[in-house]
Structure formats: structure tokens, C-alpha cells
Amino acid sequence: MNKLTLLIRYKLKMWSNIPLRRGRRKIPLPFYILMLAGVFIAISVPLYLFTLDLFQNYSKIIFNGISLADLFVEISMIGIFVLVLVTDTPAIALNVFMSEDVDFLLSLPISQSTIFISKNLETIIQGGFPALFVIPILISYANATMMPWYMITVMFLMYIIYFVIVNSISSIIALGVSKFASRSGTQRFMVFTSLIVYVLSILLMSTVSSLNPNDKNITEAFASYLSTINLPFLPSTWFINAIKLRIDGLLPLIITATILAFVTYRISSSGILSGYSKMKSATKHIRMRNYNLKSPEQAFVSKDLKLMRREPSILFLLIYPAIFPLFLLIGGVMGRGQSSITHALTGGILISIFISSMYTVIATASLVSIEIKVGEFIKTLPVGNRTPLWSKAFVITGAFAIVMMVTFSILSAFFGGFILSVITVLLSIPVLLILSFFGVYATVKWPNSIGGVRRPLNTTGNFVSMGIGFLGALIATSEGLYFSGNRIFPFLSPAYQFLIFLAGPIAGEIIMAFVIFELLSKIDWANPYETK
């Protein structure tokens, strides 16, 4: 136990040392905890209030002996089960079986089970934050159903036991994953699953919040649909039964958690960590490979496209402009009216452009930071210092433009508005390109030396980039707004509309391009990444 405490203490120490490595003052651990608590409260309070209202209405609708409120808790538990399973499994595989420091830890006189538990706890601390958001849901459920204090205590105990089940299953699957998957493959799998969970959870929330509890037909249909998930072998059903102190919930939940935790512990003590090999034996030499050669410029673009496609953090940024119009459209469809759908579509297009503009800077910075990591290799190639950077700006601009075009084309196939989509995307491309170039400048000017691809800019860089990104987003959205026919100020004459929403933003675009290219020309391109 002492060694476990020691491992965790040093891990926490390493985390709190991160600001020191960034050249800032060390932040004490209690401050971090307070900060996280602040974030938790800021999200939990509105969530509590929202679900309290929901549960008060849903608890009155009973279907097959189960209230809609119970079913809502069950679906939340299934949601958290899937969320933790798909995000924690690859995270545990990466953190426990593929972590670089495991080799070092194995050389120390520490038992494998201690290493396993400490690495597992690290994963829970890092990735288990979403599981906390079930707490306000459970509190509002308890409040709405007027649970006594001892039952609330049991409910939280059961939630911990439920979490043990999920974590044990994740650990066992992670062990299997680590036996056949590579590190990079696992990382990509993690992004893929996270994306699916992210999209599904937002779609689910969007659907649930659009329901009107006073509309009996909808809620009853919903209850009928949800009753299919109230199956006796699901841990979520055990959970809902257990918090009502029913033996058919308490027993299976506790017994399953105990068995799974024991199995996981036994596996972790049996030498699995030392049995893992980071690189599986390579396949037989494959002869007759086909090599695809291009011009140097094309080679850079092709390489940057591959790196972008395979970098999870950039993929995340690229997916946002595609997802957000969907949410608005769901709202529009729920509103059930042609004008509602048209407004949602226009809003979706404009929001997509706004988000693309905001994220272009940071996506370019992330791609440039990959080059910074490789650094010296690129300087030994017979290409100009600017070529690798320019190619990134074009690749990111192209990627966002393609994402928007594809999204809008699909949406307009169903809801119309194709011409508006094409005009707004074409108008936003110059802004995106200018912002991409600013991303190049920002990475060179304000690099975060230890942030990696996920956090390529330091604090100043992040603030300035957000400001410039916002300005670019305003310009791109104003132009789109002008052509969409929507008027924020309907009392303005067409001439003023033209000046404010088109001529002004285009002038702003030209000024922004001029300033950014001026800034770029001042960079020492012989050593663009050399920190002073």
C-alpha cells in the first residue's frame, strides 16, 4: 500500500510540475482540486436544475410498473457504462500496457498488481471526470422522488460498485487489446470511439431536452421504447433495483463487482505487464512494394494530409463544423415546421462557418507543432524553410472547406439551400486561409514547448489566436449572413446592410490578410522554431 501511495504521490507531483516546466509558477495541488471542483459545480448546478424539472415530470409517468424517471436514470447509467468502457479501455491499454514508464517501474521492487492499480487509478483520475456528472443527475432523481438519506447513501455506494464493474471490464478488455493492437492503432481507436460517444451523447441530450413532458403521446412512446432497455441481466437494471433496496438489484451488483474486481486483481498479479511486447514481431518482408513519388510540393501536401488525418486532436476540431448543424436541425425537426427547418439550416451553416474559422488557427498550429517535433530532420531537406509551413496552411484550409461543403451538400439534399451553402463556403475560404497563415505565425511566435500537438500554443498564443479566430469568424459569418437574407437589423436600409455585412467584412478581411503577412515576413525563417 505504501508503494501504491508513493506511485500516486509522485504522479501528482509530476502533474503539478507541468507549469514549472512551462516556465510558470508551480500551482499547488489544492488549487487544482479547487479549480476542478469549480468546473464541476459550474456544470453540475444547471444540470441538476434541468434534470430536477425533468424528473418531477417524468416520475409521474409510469409504464409497466417503471416510471419514466427510473428509465431516464437507467439510460444515464447505460450511457456512462458505454462512455467509460469505450474511453477507458483504450486509455487503460495505453496507460497500463503501453506506457513508456512501465518498463522502468517493472525494474523496481514493486509488485505488478501495485503498478497495475496505480496506472489504472491514473486513468480514472484523467478520464473518469465524465462519470462525476451522473452525480447531479442522481441527486435530482433522489430529490424528485423524495428518497430518504439512508437510501441516498446506498445509491452512491451502488454507483461506486457500478463503476468498479465498468472499470474491471475495461481493464480485462484492455488486456486483450494490448495483446494484438499497436500503440498507434490503439490511439486511433480511442479517437474513433470517443467521437462516436461524443456525437451520440450530444444527439441523445438534444433529443431528450427537445421532448415536451406534457405531450402525453411523445412521452408514452418514449417510455415504451425505453422499456426495452429494462432487461434483468443489465447492470443498469440492477442499479435501479438496488437503489430501491431490492434484493434482485443489490445481490447481482455486489457479487458481479466482487468477482470482476477479484479476476482483474488476479490477472494483474500474474505477470501480464512483463509479458507485453511493444512491437509485435513484424510481418514477413513484403517484396514488390509500389512507391508513389510526387513533386516536392505535392509530397509535403500529401504527407501533411496523412498526418492531419491521423492526428486525433485535429480530427476532433474538423468534426465540430459537421456536427453542430445537425443539432440545430434536430431542434428544427422537433419544432416541426418548414420555417423552423429553414431557420435551423441557415443557422447550422452559419454556426459551422463560425466554428471552422475559430478552429482553423489551432488546427494549423497543431499540424505545425508536429513539424516542430521532428524539427531538425526537415532542415536537412533541400526545400525552402517556408514550404513545409505553407503546405500546412493550405491543407487545413482545404480540410475545413471540404468538411463544410460535404456537410452542407448532404443537408441541402434533404432540406434545400444548396446555393446558399456554396456561396457561404466560397466566401469563407479566404478567411480560413488567412487564419491558417496566422496559425503558422502563432506556432512560431508563441510555441508551447511541452504542449505537444494537443496544446501547441502557450497562454498568450491561445488568447491571441482565440481573438483573431473570433474576428475571422465574425467576418466569415457576416458575409454568409448577408447572402442568407437574414437580417439582424431589419430597420437598416439595403445600402447599410451591404456596408455592414459585406463591404465592411471584406475590407476587414483585406486588412487582416495584410497585417498577418506583414507579421509573417518578420519571422526569422532561417530558424523559425528556435526559442530565444
Binding site: 499497436s182 512491437m279 512507391y291 498526418l307 492526428e311 531538425e376 531537406l381 533541400p382
Partner: protein, 252 residues
């Protein structure tokens, strides 16, 4: 004999610290030049300046008859660099990386394919379809060597290139470098393994505290120092005698 590398009065300052103090040397065509020195002596800084990674504070570097400062791209297209720690694109496969390098150097597709297959056979590379992020240090080093040797550059710079290689690959590399030198290439290599320098290098330069303190063939160095092994010569020149080392060991 053609001098493929000419370095005169090369100097590099980092703020007030001078890492390399006005060094000069030449490397002939077909010559393997060993650049030795203790840790922090200025070896890596020198190699970085010779390969265009670092800009010198002063001095002149001429490679293949071209000034590196005024013709950096022309020079880079004729040299190959193998760094001590290969940092590569982790999200590219080995094959994609070789395609990228081949494209940048405008290689002939068939020639490149043939050279890669020969080198893959020699270094037992059978992992080109895997992502570089999953490679060990040795695998990365082999990939980096392949990306350089497939081009048969006129001048090859190697910084501790045998580190991470297994015995067979290290032996093949040494023989390949000898072969390339016989075909007219110039090789500039740094190493801490003095046996390698002793066996392979035609001439050796020893750098200490940013200054070249000895240069010549192994027999020149032996004659000057009166010592036989390169290890003894190196320790004597860098200020660490055999007795001093023994005393340190005794005190431990």
C-alpha cells in the same frame, strides 16, 4: 584529390557561451573522417552547422564546391544526414516516410525501389508497413539510414549512427560506408566507440571545449602522442589520464 568538405574558421556562439571556437578542417573525396570528443565538446553543434540545421556565428562551410550559406538547398540535395536521435513522423508508416524523402530528393522511382529493397535485405527491415510511432530506437535508426543510403549522397554525416543497431546491422553499416567511400563519397562521422573510429576512419579530428586539439591519420596521432591505442591517445588529449580514471574508480 577533390575536397568535398571545406570548413574554415567555423564558430558558434549561444549567447555568451561559445560552443565551437573557430575550427577548420577539410574532408577529401573517398575519405572517412572521424570526429571525436568528450560530451559537450561541440561535436553535435559542428555537425548541425555542417548540415544546415544551425546557422554559424562566423566562418565558412563549403560542401561539394558550394557555399552552404549561399546555396543551402543545392548543398542539402547532395548530402545525407543521420542524426544521433532519429525524430520522425510517428503517424507515417516507414514506406510513406521513404516515399516522402524520395519525392523531396526527386529520385527515380525504379532506382529508389531497387535501392530500398537492397537496403531492407541488408538491414533486415521488414516493418515498413508499420507506423513509425511503434518503432524501437533501432528500427527508427535503420529507417533513417535507409532514407539516406538509398540516395547514395556525395557527403554523408553520421552522428553516433551505430547506437541502437544490433551487431550485424552495425557491421553492415560500417562495410557499406567503406564501400561508399571507395566509390568516392565523403563520410563525416562522430562516435564515442573508439574501436569503430580506429578501424574505419582514414583521418580523425579530436575536438575538446570547442577547439580541434588534434587531427590526422591514426599513425599521425600515435606518433604525436607516443601512445598506441586510440583510447589512450583520446584520454591523454582530452586531459584524462589512465591514472586519473583508476583513481576515480578506486574512490567509488
Amino acid at each position: 584529390m577533390t575536397q568535398l568538405v571545406k570548413v574554415s574558421n567555423l564558430k558558434k556562439n549561444f549567447g555568451t557561451f561559445t560552443a565551437v571556437k573557430s575550427i577548420s578542417f577539410n574532408i577529401n573525396s573517398g575519405e572517412i573522417y572521424g570526429f571525436l570528443g568528450p560530451n559537450g565538446a561541440g561535436k553535435t553543434t559542428t555537425i548541425k552547422m555542417l548540415t544546415g540545421i544551425l546557422v554559424p556565428t562566423s566562418g565558412k562551410i563549403e560542401i561539394c564546391g558550394l557555399d552552404l550559406l549561399t546555396h543551402p538547398l543545392e548543398v542539402k540535395s547532395q548530402i545525407g544526414v543521420v542524426p544521433d536521435e532519429p525524430k520522425l513522423y510517428e503517424n507515417l508508416t516507414g514506406q510513406e516516410f521513404l516515399e516522402f524523402v524520395g519525392s523531396i530528393f526527386l529520385m527515380d522511382k525504379d532506382e529508389m525501389k531497387k535501392r530500398i529493397e537492397e537496403l531492407c535485405d541488408a538491414f533486415e527491415i521488414n516493418f515498413l508497413e508499420k507506423f513509425i510511432g511503434d518503432y524501437s530506437h533501432g528500427m527508427k535508426q535503420k529507417l533513417m539510414l535507409t532514407s539516406v543510403l538509398m540516395r547514395k549522397p556525395k557527403v554523408i554525416f553520421l552522428d553516433e549512427a551505430t547506437v541502437g543497431l544490433d551487431a550485424k546491422s552495425a557491421k553492415i553499416l560500417k562495410m557499406l560506408l567503406k564501400k561508399y567511400a571507395n566509390e568516392g563519397s565523403s563520410i563525416f562521422m562522430t562516435t564515442h566507440v573508439l574501436e569503430i573510429a580506429e578501424k574505419m576512419c582514414d583521418r580523425i579530428g579530436i575536438i575538446n571545449a570547442g577547439e580541434i586539439i588534434a587531427e590526422g591519420t591514426l599513425s599521425d596521432l600515435r606518433n604525436e602522442s607516443g601512445k598506441q591505442s586510440l583510447e589512450d591517445i583520446f584520454l591523454q588529449l582530452t586531459g584524462s589520464t589512465d591514472e586519473e580514471v583508476k583513481e576515480i574508480i578506486q574512490n567509488l
